[in-house]
Symmetry: C2
Subunit: 204 residues, 2 copies
DNA sequence: CTTATATTGATATTTTATTATCTATATTAT
DNA sequence: ATAATATAGATAATAAAATATCAATATAAG
C-alpha cells in the first residue's frame, strides 16, 4: 500500500535534485545527514522524503549519489514527457519560452501565443509564436496539458477559462490574480513581487 | 505580547491581497467565509491569518474591504520602502527590471548589473544597467538590501557571495542552485521548472 | 423593544509535519 | 573473525498547522 506524497515533500524533491547535481562526481555516496546539513533540514525528514522515491540506502554508506538522482528524476517525471504552452509573449513569456531548464523534468515548452500580431513568428531559439486566436486548435494539435500564463493580471482569468476549454489540466500563472478553475484543473501561482515582499519583511 | 507570524501565514497575505483587490468597489464589506470560499481555504484559517494584521472585523458584518486591504498592505510593507537590485540582465533580469508590480509592496528595483559590457546602459523604462564590476560600490550607494539573482545556476553562488559582501540582507534567486549564505542573510528561490514539474505530476 | 442570525474572535480538537529514539546492518578497523 | 560505528529505516513523541466548536455581539427582522 503506497501512500500519496504530501505536497510539501514533493516540493522539496527539486531542492534535493539541485543539490545532488552540484555534488562532484567523485562523491559516489551521499548520506541523509550530509544532504540535511547542506540544505538546513532534519536528517530524518530527508530520509522520509527520499523514501517516497525508489531509492534505497545502505546502512553505514548512504545512497549511491547517481542512483538517488535517477530515483528522484524518475519520481518527478513519473508521467513521462509532457508538452506545455505559454500564453502571453511579453518579457516573461519570452524568458520562459527559450529557457532550457524544463527538459530535465520531462517537460517541453512547445509554443507561445499572443494577441499582438506583431509578435508572432519565431522565438530566438526557433520556437513558434502563434496568434492566440488559434490557441484552441493549436493546443489540441500540440497535445498540451500544461500551460503557463504570462499575461497581465486583468486578462488572466479569461485566459484560464480559454485554457480549460482547450483541455489543459494544469496551469502555472505569473499573473498576480486569483484564478478560478473547475475541479480537476490545478493552478499554481508564481508571484515574484510577493516573494520579494516576503523576503523584505524578514529583514530587521 | 505579539506573536510572530508563521511563514505559511505570511505567504498567504499576498493571496488575500490579490483577491481583495479584485472585489468590485461596490462590495463595502467582506467576511472571512466569503474570502475562504473564493480561495478554497477554511474560514477560521482566514480569520487567524487576518488577526495578524491590524484589521478588526465586526460580528454579523465582516471586515470593511478597504480597511482590510490597507491593513494587509501595511502589514507587508511594515519596514517601509526598500531598494532592490538585479544581478544578471538576461531575459529574466530584463523582465523583472521593468516589471511594475513591486511598488505595491514598497519595493523599488533600482538597477541591474551584468558582466557583458554590451548590455550596459539603460532598460526600456530608463533604469540603469551597470557593470557587475561596479556592483560593490553601486549597491552601497543605492542602499540596496534586497537583490534578485538572474544568472545561470553555475554562477549563482559566486554572485551570492558578492552580494553578502555588499551588505545585502535578502536574496531572491531564479537560479536552480543551492545557495549558501551566512546567518542573517535570507534566501528564497523561485524555480520555474520545478513548479511546472510539480504541477505536471498532479495530472493523472 | 425583542428575537433571530450572521459573523467575529477565542478556545479546543484534530490532523499533519517534523523531530527524536530505537533497531538492524553493512562496512571498517582490529 | 570479532568488535565498533555510521547509517538506513521504522516507530514513537513532539510541534505546528488546520479545523471545529462556542460565546459574544452587532445588525436586521418582526
Amino acid at each position: 500500500m503506497y501512500k500519496e506524497i504530501p505536497l510539501i515533500s514533493l516540493q522539496r524533491m527539486p531542492v534535493y535534485l539541485n543539490y545532488l547535481k552540484s555534488i562532484p562526481d567523485s562523491e559516489k555516496f551521499v548520506s541523509s545527514g550530509h544532504i540535511a546539513e547542506a540544505l538546513g533540514l532534519g536528517e530524518v525528514l530527508v530520509r522520509k522524503d527520499l523514501a517516497y522515491t525508489a531509492a534505497v540506502g545502505r546502512p553505514r554508506v548512504g545512497y549511491v549519489t547517481e542512483e538517488l538522482i535517477s530515483a528522484i528524476e524518475e519520481f518527478l517525471c513519473f508521467n513521462g514527457k509532457r508538452h506545455a504552452v505559454i500564453i502571453g509573449y511579453g518579457a516573461v513569456g519570452k524568458a520562459i519560452l527559450d529557457y532550457g531548464g524544463f527538459g530535465y523534468y520531462g517537460i517541453e515548452v512547445v509554443a507561445a501565443f499572443d494577441s499582438d500580431t506583431d509578435k508572432l513568428g519565431q522565438s530566438p531559439s526557433g520556437k513558434p509564436v502563434y496568434d492566440v486566436a488559434d490557441a484552441e486548435a493549436q493546443i489540441a494539435r500540440l497535445n498540451a496539458k500544461l500551460a503557463i500564463i504570462c499575461v497581465p493580471a486583468p486578462a488572466a482569468q479569461g485566459v484560464a477559462d480559454m485554457l480549460v476549454r482547450c483541455g489543459v489540466k494544469a496551469i502555472l500563472s505569473f499573473a498576480p490574480a486569483t484564478l478560478k478553475t473547475p475541479e480537476g484543473v490545478e493552478v499554481r501561482q508564481i508571484d515574484v513581487a510577493a516573494n520579494l515582499a516576503i523576503l523584505s519583511s524578514s529583514i530587521k
